[in-house]
Symmetry: C2
Subunit: 391 residues, 2 copies
């Protein structure tokens, strides 16, 4: 990289000094690939292979008795561990189960029911599509930064992604929670692109509601179920709409009439997906061991390097950094805009560099601080430079 | 068993002549246990262990590229194979994903929206609790046999279990579908206790809608996701309420505005649970290989034996057969009623016989024709006889 601000050797030197470098060995990684898409699907933890073998063997050996031996506690147990490792949530406020879409639907519905007479929902037109689709025609698009101007006495619900799936912009959670609370509305955060990469303080920031997916920085596996956070004070007031046997007080009564279980169990619906929950548990454990503050520090260093390299050698080739330049307002991925982003992504994948493409013009380089090296950042930017350089 | 109509050797002889006997080897089975709860959680197929290893390895090796290599097709692909093996459904009418509760909620909501102005929902008060909870206060209880008297021009939706989770009673699907259709209402079947044990002919019987779980006779694993069947003619008319990115026309557009994908994909919501879908695929495959008609024939033989044995030696000990005596109207489990059912179940489990208890007084002996032997039936009844016999 002739014009680089930093040589590949210098990037390798950063890896040698990285306090998290040994965590890369905790994942199954193809050495031929530069994987920059852990923000879409995180890597497979080595421990997950053995954990899945154990839970499958438990199914084989114990059959239905497994339900009395810990399976039934997984939605809340994994939720508590996730809350401690990544969400800044005290126990009893997180439940895992159902897809992100279903979790989001449940909490939107619960929030709207809890604010009768208020008709406005405020969201960000650049929010992740599934969130906008669940809101349907009720969505009105606003940037988080000017949320105060758009929230009023008719607002029932405000919902944003904490980290934008496109730009990696980080919303100011505490400030927005306060604005929304002052208006008497409820705030629902989508943490899909935050949890496991950016520290969260849901309790301290007075976040009322949140959902998020587990297969990105939490490495839960393809299509792993999502989680819901409901602040303790709200749990008795809010009622989710999908009344299944598992969310009922004493589910094994199988009695007439639905009365929700107290606490987070009342936000569950059907039978917990045991294999998937076991896999999430292992992903969450690694985040806890590494420590979210160290993960965040490395995430900033990786994105800073990517931006410095992009400025140094990609700007003149027509690539624009489309993520915030202030690291405090940027998550763990970097959006690089180019008119031919789609073709460039395909060509990068051809060369063994795996980013993803987001319409209309974004190449997203996602960095998983536990498994991405500084040389991976260098190699990714260099591959893009080569593709764009006149031959 | 002194009073038995059949000796254990005679039961072993039935096993020796069983055309499905070799299928037992396709499952992981603890030889010390008499497992009579495959109607709650089916056994682990041997092939599932290897299939899960493969899909986990694919996650590890291919990462996000797995989505382009078959993962995205799993909800409909597994659905089509399930439809062929167990539901009597031509391709393009079954989708797998979400829990049974969530699938049921989606189709209830879609059906009610499609019948505006009609206010009545008809169900069976003995229907599985989760179904009744989703319906909430709207449920009015009726037996399937007298459905015609309770369905009228104000009825939007009728929903029953095809096989009752308690008694194993089989509802007359074709007759009920015709009655409900004549009234202009929609019929929604819960197939959880049927699929994989009792042949279904959804297409031929003109069933409009169905859901069912996959972890019972389909051996999909603890908490495995459920399926929805939506008759082809209804797919464009019905709209499910949980609008996620995967159910949208061209999900990767991530464009504004939700427009459902055509066909069954429009009934999906979030990202498909890949590991769980792979496991279901293996369970479904075994059912397809064995053939649902042979499975049904053995299911009848197993329950006939259980009832004959119960009549022969348990009746005088206070046990009443609480399942239909007509095998044509009985699924693959047998309900044995006794005032001390709860304690008896616990004592059976202590002895290595695994049934389950259903309030208030039912011991449920579930037979999975692919893995349950005639001697298991004999041993289960004999263990109960011993427990009840005066010492």
């Amino acid at each position: 990289m002739s014009t680089a601000v930093l040589s590949r050797d210098a990037a390798a030197e950063l890896d040698a000094r990285d306090p998290l470098r040994e965590f890369r060995e905790r994942f199954v990684i193809d050495p031929e690939i530069v994987y920059l898409d852990g923000n879409s699907l995180g890597c497979l933890p080595v421990a997950t292979v053995a954990r899945l073998e154990r839970v499958v063997a438990q199914w084989g050996g114990r059959g239905v008795r497994g339900w009395d031996e810990g399976w039934l506690e997984l939605p809340i147990g994994v939720g508590d561990r996730l809350g401690a490792a990544a969400l800044g949530a005290a126990p009893g406020q997180v439940a895992v189960g159902d897809s992100t879409t279903v979790c989001f639907y449940k909490l939107v519905s619960a929030a709207l029911d809890a604010r009768p007479g208020r008709t406005r929902i405020v969201t960000d037109l650049d929010n992740f599509p599934t969130d906008r689709y669940v809101l349907g025609d009720r969505a009105g698009g606003r940037e988080p930064s000017d949320v105060a101007r758009h929230v009023g006495s008719d607002t029932a619900l405000v919902t944003f992604s904490h980290v934008s799936y496109r730009s990696a912009h980080i919303a100011d959670m505490a400030a927005i929670d306060a604005i929304v609370d002052d208006a008497g509305a409820l705030m629902l955060w989508d943490l899909s692109h935050s949890a496991g990469s950016v520290p969260l303080s849901l309790d301290r920031d007075h976040a009322p509601l949140a959902v998020g997916c587990t297969y990105k920085y939490l490495n839960g596996g393809p299509g792993a179920p999502a989680y819901m956070y409901v602040r303790r004070e709200l749990q008795a007031e809010l009622r989710q709409p999908i009344w299944g046997w598992l969310g009922r007080r004493d589910p094994f009564e199988m009695a007439p009439g639905y009365e929700p279980a107290p606490g987070m169990r009342g936000f569950l619906s059907g039978t917990p997906p045991v294999l998937a929950l076991a896999a999430i548990d292992e992903g969450v454990r690694i985040v806890g061991e590494a420590g979210i503050e160290r993960i965040r520090a490395k995430g900033i260093a990786l994105t800073e390097l990517a931006i410095a390299l992009a400025d140094g050698c990609l700007g003149e080739l027509g690539v624009r950094v489309a993520s915030p330049r202030d690291p405090a307002r940027r998550g763990a991925h970097v959006a690089l805009a180019h008119p031919n982003a789609r073709e460039l992504c395909a060509a990068l994948i051809e060369r063994g560099v795996i980013p993803d493409f987001r319409r209309p013009d974004v190449i997203r380089f996602g960095f998983s601080p536990l498994s991405t090296r500084f040389v991976d950042v260098w190699d990714g930017v260099d591959a893009l430079r080569e593709l764009l350089s006149p031959t």
